[in-house]
C-alpha cells in the first residue's frame, strides 16, 4: 500500500490530484465517467461575485500538442455556485477548492466573504492569472505590488487554506511567487495558461474572437515543470503543479520538480476520466519504484 495523502498548505488531500480550474466545471459533467470522490480535491471553475458572460465565439483553437482558449471566465456568480455546485459536491467525499476571480481587489474579497462561512468550501485558489479578461486576472498577477495587495486582502478575509494561482507570462515567476508567499499565501499553483494566438492564413483572421488566448495542454509541460522547479527553490510554501499533465508519469515529474500536488486540466478534454487515471498512474509508479509514501517524491529531482 502506497501512502498517497498530501497536505497542500493546510488542505489535506487523500491523493495529490485535483482538477485545473475551468476544465472540469464543478465535476458533475464528469460524473458519468468516474466518481469525483476518487480525486484528492475538486477545483471549481472560476467564480466572480455576480457572474460574467465571458467572451464572444470562437473561444478555442487547437494548436500543436495543445489548445488556446479565451472563455473569459464565464460564470453564473457565487450564489449559483453555492446553490448548485456546492450542493452537488456536498454529496461527494472530496474537498473543494473554489477558484476565486474578480475584476477588482474588492471583488476577490467579496467572493471570499460570500463563501467563507460555508463549510462546503475547503480552500480557495485565488486566480490572479487568467489571460482572458481585461480587468483583474493576469493584470494583477504580473505585478508584484498588485499581487501583494490582492493576496493580503484575501488573506484578511479568510483563515481557510489559500492557494494563489500564478501566471507564466512574467519574466521571473519567483518574484511573483515570493510576493504571494510574503502576503500570506498558504500554497501556490502554477502554471495558468501561456498567452498565445493562432492565425487562419486563408481568411487572414485570428482564430479566436479576442485574438489572443491561453495556451494549455502537453505543449506547455516543459515550461510548467521549469517554473515549478524554480518556485520550489524560491519559496517554502507547497506548490500545486499543472500544465499538460495527462498521465501518472507526468504528475510524478511535477512532484519530483517540487510540486506537493498536481492538477489535471486540458487532459480532461482528451480523456474524460483523466483525473482518475492520473491517480492510478501515480500509485502504479510508486508501487513499481518501491515508493511507500508519495511525499517522498516531492522535490526529489536529482540534479
Amino acid at each position: 500500500m502506497v501512502a498517497m495523502s498530501v497536505n497542500l498548505g493546510g488542505l489535506v488531500m487523500k491523493n495529490p490530484v485535483t482538477t485545473a480550474s475551468g476544465t472540469f466545471a464543478a465535476g458533475r459533467e464528469y460524473d458519468d465517467f468516474y466518481d469525483v470522490s476518487t480525486l484528492g480535491a475538486v477545483t471549481t471553475k472560476g467564480v466572480s461575485l455576480n457572474g460574467w458572460q465571458g467572451n464572444a465565439s470562437p473561444r478555442i483553437a487547437e494548436t500543436p500538442s495543445g489548445m488556446l482558449n479565451s472563455i473569459g471566465l464565464q460564470n453564473p456568480g457565487v450564489a449559483a455556485l453555492k446553490e448548485k455546485d456546492l450542493a452537488w459536491l456536498a454529496g461527494k467525499d472530496v474537498p473543494v477548492i473554489v477558484n476565486v476571480s474578480g475584476h477588482s481587489f474588492d471583488e476577490y474579497m467579496q467572493v471570499i466573504e460570500a463563501l467563507d462561512d460555508d463549510s462546503r468550501v475547503h480552500a480557495y485558489e485565488i486566480n490572479i492569472s487568467c489571460p482572458n479578461v481585461d480587468e483583474g486576472g493576469m493584470t494583477f498577477g504580473t505585478h508584484a505590488p498588485s499581487v501583494e495587495t490582492v493576496v493580503s486582502r484575501c488573506r484578511a478575509a479568510t483563515k481557510k487554506p489559500m492557494i494563489v494561482k500564478l501566471t507564466p507570462n512574467v519574466t521571473d515567476v519567483t518574484e511573483i511567487a515570493r510576493a504571494a508567499e510574503a502576503a500570506g499565501a498558504d500554497a501556490l499553483s502554477l502554471i495558468n495558461t501561456l498567452l498565445g494566438m493562432a492565425v487562419d492564413a486563408r481568411t487572414r483572421r485570428p482564430q479566436l474572437s479576442r485574438v489572443v488566448g491561453g495556451l494549455s495542454g502537453p505543449c506547455v509541460k516543459p515550461v510548467a515543470l521549469r517554473m515549478v522547479w524554480e518556485c520550489h527553490k524560491a519559496v517554502k510554501v507547497p506548490l500545486l503543479g499543472m500544465g499538460g499533465i495527462c498521465t501518472g508519469t507526468d504528475a510524478v515529474e511535477f512532484m519530483l520538480a517540487g510540486a506537493t500536488a498536481v492538477a489535471v486540466g486540458t487532459a480532461n478534454f482528451m480523456n474524460p476520466a483523466a483525473g482518475r487515471d492520473v491517480v492510478k498512474g501515480i500509485r502504479a509508479y510508486c508501487e513499481e519504484q518501491g515508493v511507500q509514501d508519495v511525499n517522498e517524491l516531492i522535490g526529489g529531482l536529482q540534479c
Binding site: G22, T23, F24, A25, E29, Y30, D32, F33, K45, Q53, G54, S57, P58, R59, I60, A61, E62, P64, S65, G66, M67, N69, I71, Q74, G217, P218, C219, T266, N268, F269, M270, N271, P272, A273
Partner: protein, 259 residues
C-alpha cells in the same frame, strides 16, 4: 441521459461522395441509446499533436446490430485523418451527447430540411416521424448531384416526398434548397420543421418558418473541447444568454437563437 466513453470498432469507412465519407462503428451502448439529433465526441487514434476530440452527428443507428453511422465531410486535419482509418481499427466515442430533436407528438405534418452534410443529423428524426405515422416532406440540398448521398435512404424511408436542390442545377431544383422550402411553405401547411446544414441556410429557413408561423428547430455547430458541458467553449448566443451547443443543444428552437 448518462454518457459513456465507449471504445468501438470500425466496420466500414469509405468515400460516398465528393469529399463525403461514411463511417460505421460497432459501439453497442451508444447505438442502443442514441436519439435523433445527438452526436458522439470522437477520439481519433493516431492524431499525434492534435489533442482534441472531434464531434460528429450520428446519421443512423442499428440498436440490434449495435452499430451507428456517421456521415462526415473532410474539413481539416481531424476529418482528413479519419478517412485513413480502416475496418477493425478502434475509435473512442463519448456519447450519446446532447439534446436532439423534439418532434411534437401532435405534429401531423413534418418538414425536414438537410443542407449538404446536414442531411445526416436529421435522418433519424425523419425515421422517427415516419414510424410515428406522420406526413413527412424532406428537402435535401447539395452543391451537385453526386453530393446528394442521403437521398436514396430518405426515399426508402417512406417519406411523402423527397425533394432535392443542387447549386449547380445537375439534379432537382436549380439553386439553394431554400427555394424548395419557399414553394412547400406556400403550398402546404406544416406543424413542425427541422433544419440542419450550414448556418446561413439554417438562418434563412428559420426566417421562412417564422414568417409561416411554423415551429422550427435547428442544429448548431461550434468548436468544442470537452463535449460534456464543462469547458464553455462551444457556447451559442441565445435569448436566455449563452448556452452550450454540446449539452444544452446542439438542437435549439429557432426563436431561442440570437442569429
Amino acid at each position: 441521459m448518462a454518457l459513456t466513453n465507449e471504445t468501438g470498432t470500425i466496420l466500414r469507412n469509405g468515400q460516398v461522395g465528393p469529399n463525403l465519407y461514411l463511417l460505421e462503428v460497432e459501439s453497442p451502448d451508444i447505438a442502443r441509446r442514441v436519439e435523433p439529433g445527438q452526436f458522439v465526441h470522437t477520439k481519433i487514434p493516431g492524431m499525434e499533436g492534435h489533442i482534441l476530440r472531434r464531434p460528429f452527428s450520428v446519421y443512423a443507428a442499428d440498436p440490434d446490430a449495435g452499430t451507428f453511422g456517421v456521415l462526415y465531410q473532410v474539413v481539416g486535419f481531424g476529418s482528413e485523418h479519419l478517412t485513413t482509418l480502416g475496418t477493425g481499427e478502434r475509435v473512442e466515442n463519448v456519447g450519446p451527447v446532447g439534446h436532439g430533436w423534439t418532434l411534437p407528438e401532435d405534429a401531423a405534418r413534418v418538414l425536414i430540411v438537410g443542407g449538404g452534410v446536414g442531411a445526416a443529423p436529421v435522418f433519424m428524426l425523419a425515421q422517427q416521424a415516419v414510424a410515428a405515422g406522420k406526413d413527412v416532406d424532406v428537402v435535401l440540398g447539395a452543391r451537385t448531384k453526386d453530393a446528394l448521398v442521403c437521398q436514396a435512404r430518405y426515399e426508402e424511408l417512406g417519406a411523402r416526398q423527397v425533394l432535392c436542390a443542387t447549386d449547380d442545377g445537375t439534379y432537382g431544383h436549380a439553386g439553394f434548397c431554400t427555394g424548395v422550402v419557399d414553394q412547400l411553405l406556400a403550398a402546404r401547411e406544416y406543424d413542425y420543421a427541422a433544419v440542419c446544414g450550414p448556418e446561413p441556410l439554417m438562418k434563412i429557413v428559420a426566417a421562412q418558418t417564422a414568417d409561416a408561423g411554423l415551429p422550427c428547430q435547428v442544429s448548431l455547430e461550434r468548436r468544442m473541447a470537452c463535449g460534456v458541458g464543462a469547458c464553455l467553449s462551444c457556447v451559442v448566443d441565445t435569448v436566455e444568454g449563452k448556452k452550450r451547443a454540446c449539452v444544452d443543444g446542439p438542437v435549439f428552437w429557432r426563436e431561442e437563437v440570437v442569429w
